[in-house]
């Protein structure tokens, strides 16, 4: 990160866009949260542990379902791939063995896609699960970065930056381990670039964690006003 570059939106290459989130915004869901990186925002609701259809029932743990709806139109293979990534990422985070024969249903609505959408989704899902009180082994958070043609690594890229990048990397880390939990990298890149991106994203995730911590603290203070 020796060469700090200024981008279109006046950020440096190692700066995240402003983060914001709202918890418990949906009053029918067991848990809900919205999360945004700048103009990329997503709303997530969680229902569970609740009744499960017999055909999806697992005898020793809860069945986790993820549904992602895009900003415009109905879901396609793009959304199905993201659903798989999210479900797999949270497979060891949710302590499903505590609620056998139930279903935990996660629904995500992309309200605006301005780049780094998978990271936005993972963070919203984490917050919604926490809001619902689903037992979790860790807090899982994610950040994306893109590598430009000249080798400069941009943190939390916008759609325009991703289009012009040679590779894009999504990483998810949890607060219980220093190693990579989830990783999706596309484009053409070297091994060195991959590990450098992992380190940069890991550092960024710890700032997102600080934000999440204060958001939860704020919510708890409101609840315990009584």
């Amino acid at each position: 990160m020796a060469n700090e570059v200024l981008r279109e939106d006046k950020r440096t290459n190692s700066q995240l866009r402003p983060i914001s989130s709202v918890l418990s915004s949906l009053n029918r869901a067991d848990g809900s949260a919205s999360f945004s990186f700048g103009n990329s925002s997503v709303l997530c609701s969680v229902y569970g542990p609740q009744e499960v259809k017999i055909k999806d029932e697992l005898l020793d743990r809860a069945t986790v379902e993820v549904n992602i709806t895009p900003q415009i139109g109905i879901g396609s293979t793009t959304e199905k791939n993201m659903e798989r990534i999210v479900r797999e990422a949270f497979s060891d985070v949710i302590i499903t063995s505590l609620h056998p024969r139930t279903s935990i249903s996660i629904t995500v609505q992309i309200t605006q896609d301005e780049g780094s959408i998978i990271s936005t989704i993972i963070n919203a899902v984490s917050l919604a699960l926490i809001d619902a009180g689903i037992p979790l082994r860790s807090t899982l958070l994610s950040v994306t970065c893109a590598v430009q043609e000249d080798g400069v690594i941009l943190l939390d890229p916008s759609n325009e930056e991703i289009k012009n990048a040679t590779s894009t990397h999504v990483f998810a880390f949890s607060n219980t381990s220093n190693d990579i939990i989830s990783s999706e990298s596309t484009g053409t890149f070297s091994e060195e670039e991959y590990f450098k991106c992992a380190d940069i994203c890991k550092l960024a995730v710890s700032s997102v964690l600080k934000f999440v911590h204060s958001a939860i603290e704020h919510k708890l203070q409101k609840e315990q006003k009584n």
Binding site: G48, P100, I130, A132, G133, R137, T139, L220, N226
Partner: protein, 241 residues
């Protein structure tokens, strides 16, 4: 004698480990409660909330959620959704519906079974809560075998609220109930499963009280007193019309 530190409750996120060594002596036995997970020789948080303790011995995480997970000996309000010869099926808001044996009532025998209709509300105690089995309820006290307030809740009105609000309502000196009690005569049953039952002589009062209780969740004691005063005034104005 003891070198234990003073503990201050703090906000904790899932995954954060808790080291209790500095708060106890070597021989002390520690009990970990709701929200804490003991895995691989470490105690960590499963939920986000405030880490609290009692006497440095009992530790738990205070958090609120909407969905009820049955726990032994909790008092809940359920709705009968089906009945057979031997048991009633009761919806208590958990993932699986609960079973209430027709014999689990005071004075019930094989010949003399309670006559509860589908849709009736019951106040019961959770007698079996196991993650692998359907929960079971009883309408008699665990020790005496007498009804002790359990059984059918006739008339009245049922509201759903968060688990945290129900827990705070269990304290009879809670601001909202004392404030309402100054102006209205009512009876209430609090279910730990996020359900509250209310009954007064007048239906409009019942609705008014249930709305007041629902709105009181995030208000301070002062704001509650204010809100109740306004509601009382409004109802008196309505009566004059």
């Amino acid at each position: 004698m003891s070198e234990t530190e003073e503990f201050k409750p703090y906000t904790i996120l899932p995954g954060e480990t808790v080291s209790l060594d500095k708060y106890k002596n070597e021989k002390d036995v520690i009990k970990i409660g709701p929200g804490l997970l003991h895995e691989k020789h470490q105690i960590s948080a499963m939920k986000a909330g405030t880490l609290k303790n009692y006497n440095n011995q009992k530790w738990w995480i205070d958090s609120s959620q909407r969905r009820y997970v049955p726990s032994l000996n909790e008092h809940v309000i359920g709705k009968i959704i089906a009945k057979t010869q031997d048991y009633f099926r009761v919806d208590i808001g958990s993932a699986h519906s609960a079973l209430l044996s027709t014999l689990a009532f005071e004075g019930a025998t094989k010949r003399n079974k309670p006559n509860l209709e589908i849709g009736a509300l019951v106040y019961a105690r959770v007698s079996l809560a196991n993650k692998d089995m359907e929960p079971e309820l009883e309408c008699i006290s665990a020790t005496t075998g007498k009804a002790n307030g359990f059984g059918e809740l006739k008339n009245g009105f049922l509201i759903k609220c968060s688990l945290g609000l129900c827990r705070s309502l269990l304290n009879p000196n809670t601001p909202i109930l004392t404030a309402l009690g100054e102006h209205f005569a009512f009876e209430t049953a609090i279910g730990m499963n996020g359900r509250v039952w209310l009954n007064t002589a007048d239906i409009s009062n019942t609705i008014l009280l249930s709305n007041a209780i629902k709105n009181s969740e995030f208000l301070s004691a002062k704001e509650i007193k204010q809100m109740v005063k306004e509601l009382v005034k409004q109802s008196e104005d309505d009566m004059e019309l």
